[in-house]
Symmetry: C2
Subunit: 398 residues, 2 copies
């Protein structure tokens, strides 16, 4: 998957970023999206009990103002997580200061932070930077915003889809543009995944929430880099409602496609990434069963190290499936990789070892397991576990 | 933990080993324990659905003959897992051939295999080696048996406890001796953990089973090297019932102690091992809750890489606890490492950073989390995730 040039935000959105000095390197670390008029909003937040202060704040603002959101403020360089009452006070100071500049109610500002856990937010620097941040916003390219929310990402992540439809003789168009930062809760103390999906389609808060949950469930909830749920994970959906109502199915498809693009970009940028893994489980009794088996295989350290080594150790795939907690009969499962059958009827299948080896060294190693228990299926993406991953996460010194 | 010189088997046991040529290196790879008279036996087997042929066979033999076991035959170099009906036939051939040599019923022979998954057992070599294997057995040191069941282990693993008690004026003594091979399902295709606990105490099959399950639950079920349950994991308990009945509590203590020694030896010999992790969760509502949180922290890749780096990234410990699926209030938990408080009352605790750093570079990093929800507690052991682990598991070529 190659990433295209930075797409533009949909109609009705302005965005920008500045260097607020939160990160030491003097790079952009404070990003802002504004609605030209009030935005409809929805969000999916981390389920981690240790939930960052800005997420606690955004949850309460969203409950109150989900049809009249003015702004989304995101900083990198500090997660403002595990920071207690002081952390919440600082998050509130930042959103209140922005609201004052924008002459809006503070509850219409959403926020999140990403960076080191357990360090208080340098809110003085954020307050000082807000006037130039507000001055920086413009319509058009999402690049500056996408860059400012990066932490250990090696590249900014974006994706877009345009929907065309007609009402009578009139042609209409709208857009879904997404940006994300990732990948997994990877870097030392980094609290990680944030994505924003913006559209100019007209939707109710209820529909936007449903579109977002459907899209997230099939994308961000199907990837793992290290199995750790961060304290700051969030996906925001914002709608300017300026361009009319496209056919529901096409809008859903666009949300799903953009979210899936971003999720795969997050995996591909996982620290130490060398090779991706796609696990597809078919023939399951229920889709929950399929997901459970797919996730267990994709997250197995032994499967992930085998993929890193390009080593066709398919016994590890079966062993991971067998401990997933889902009933199946090992005598009737069928395992293949890259379309080559490896195991069937309870025994290894004679195979062309060179072809098998090739399948295990693909850029994306495709594993398919047929449980022969029914007709449900699901999938999960991860990546090989590499020495570089361990290095990045171990050799850091605070 | 330093390991002592190889202990002796209890009274009533003979053991030995030979090179059967299953492993290419010409090292001992076939091991045997015989009872001088029929042994009482119990076992705990892997819960993996993809269960190896020798385990399937041993389960049925054990159900039939748990008061009259003659022998336990273990080979390394081949797991005989994912080998279908042919695998079961070969396992049966090996046990039947041994039974014929010993003039016993084949159902009184238990067996297991450890090594590569998905390769058929070279049963011809095993049959050819059986006469010299039977000739090799003797009472005394457990060393040759412990060495022959090794796969990627860097050292043999054993532990023993002696129990002294008196009945009237008569002094009695008995012993519990254990050997194990490990560590986790670590090496490419290796299907791994096997342990044998032998005692000359007199016990009923029911009591032996209870002793074994209690001991395993507090030892082997509390360790993880990579989260993968192997297809061949098994712990056997064998009692010769020759030395009388020690006080029940002391026998249980001896089983628990030997099993815990072996479990920790397995972790310490985990591939790429550099530093151990002990997680103790206290103040939980239930012990299930405590175990769930302790296990999640101990198995978190981010916690494990932080420990490898000796990096006091305690935010990762809280983040792992927060996703464990157990309700607690982050504002009231208390986290410490090596006795140094790091987080309390919802915020970082001011700490001596040098002391914290020292706690994170101990040979065994001791993490304690008080959930402040009740009075239940539990623990879990793992080890830092190292580059060497990835190297061993990725850079192997079949």
């Amino acid at each position: 998957m190659t990433q295209c040039a930075p797409p533009v935000w949909p109609v009705g959105f302005l965005a920008g970023s500045v260097c607020a000095g939160i990160k030491k390197q003097g790079v952009p670390d404070l990003a802002l999206i504004l609605g030209e008029s009030p935005l409809t909003a929805a969000a999916v937040f981390t389920k981690n009990l240790v939930c960052a202060a800005p997420i606690q704040l955004s949850k309460s603002h969203l409950a109150y103002s989900h049809t009249k959101i003015s702004a989304l403020l995101i900083n990198s360089g500090c997660a403002n997580a595990a920071t207690g009452a002081e952390g919440l006070t600082r998050a509130r100071r930042a959103t209140t200061a922005l609201a004052a500049l924008l002459h809006v109610d503070a509850t219409t500002v959403l926020t999140n932070s990403t960076g080191v856990i357990g360090v208080q937010l340098p809110v003085d620097r954020i307050e000082a930077a807000l006037p130039s941040l507000v001055a920086s916003v413009q319509a058009g390219s999402c690049e500056s915003f996408a860059r400012a929310i990066m932490t250990t990402d090696t590249r900014p992540k974006w994706s877009t889809r345009t929907i065309h439809w007609t009402v009578g003789a009139t042609a209409h168009t709208c857009r879904v543009t997404g940006v994300a930062k990732g990948a997994g809760m990877i870097h030392p103390n980094m609290a990680t995944m944030i994505a924003v999906l913006a559209t100019d389609a007209t939707c109710t808060p209820h529909d936007l929430d449903a579109l977002l949950r459907h899209a997230v469930d099939r994308s961000f909830h199907r990837i793992s880099v290290d199995g750790d749920t961060s304290t700051n994970d969030s996906v925001f959906a914002l709608a300017s409602c300026t361009s009319g109502t496209p056919p529901a199915a096409e809008l859903a498809e666009a949300f799903d496609a953009v979210a899936q693009d971003l999720a795969l970009l997050v995996v591909r940028d996982g620290e130490g990434f060398e090779r991706g893994i796609e696990v597809r489980v078919i023939g399951a009794k229920t889709s929950d069963d399929a997901l459970q088996v797919a996730r267990t295989i994709a997250m197995s350290l032994l499967v992930r190290t085998a993929v890193t080594g390009g080593d066709p150790n398919w016994g590890r795939i079966l062993a991971a499936a067998g401990r997933a907690g889902v009933a199946f009969n090992p005598e009737t499962v069928r395992l293949s990789t890259g379309g080559i059958e490896l195991f069937a009827h309870g025994a290894p299948t004679a195979s062309d070892l060179a072809a098998v080896r090739l399948a295990f060294t693909a850029e994306l190693v495709r594993i398919e397991l047929d449980l022969s228990m029914g007709s449900a299926s699901d999938h999960f993406w991860s990546c090989g576990l590499t020495k570089r991953y361990v290095e990045i996460n171990a050799d850091y010194t605070t």
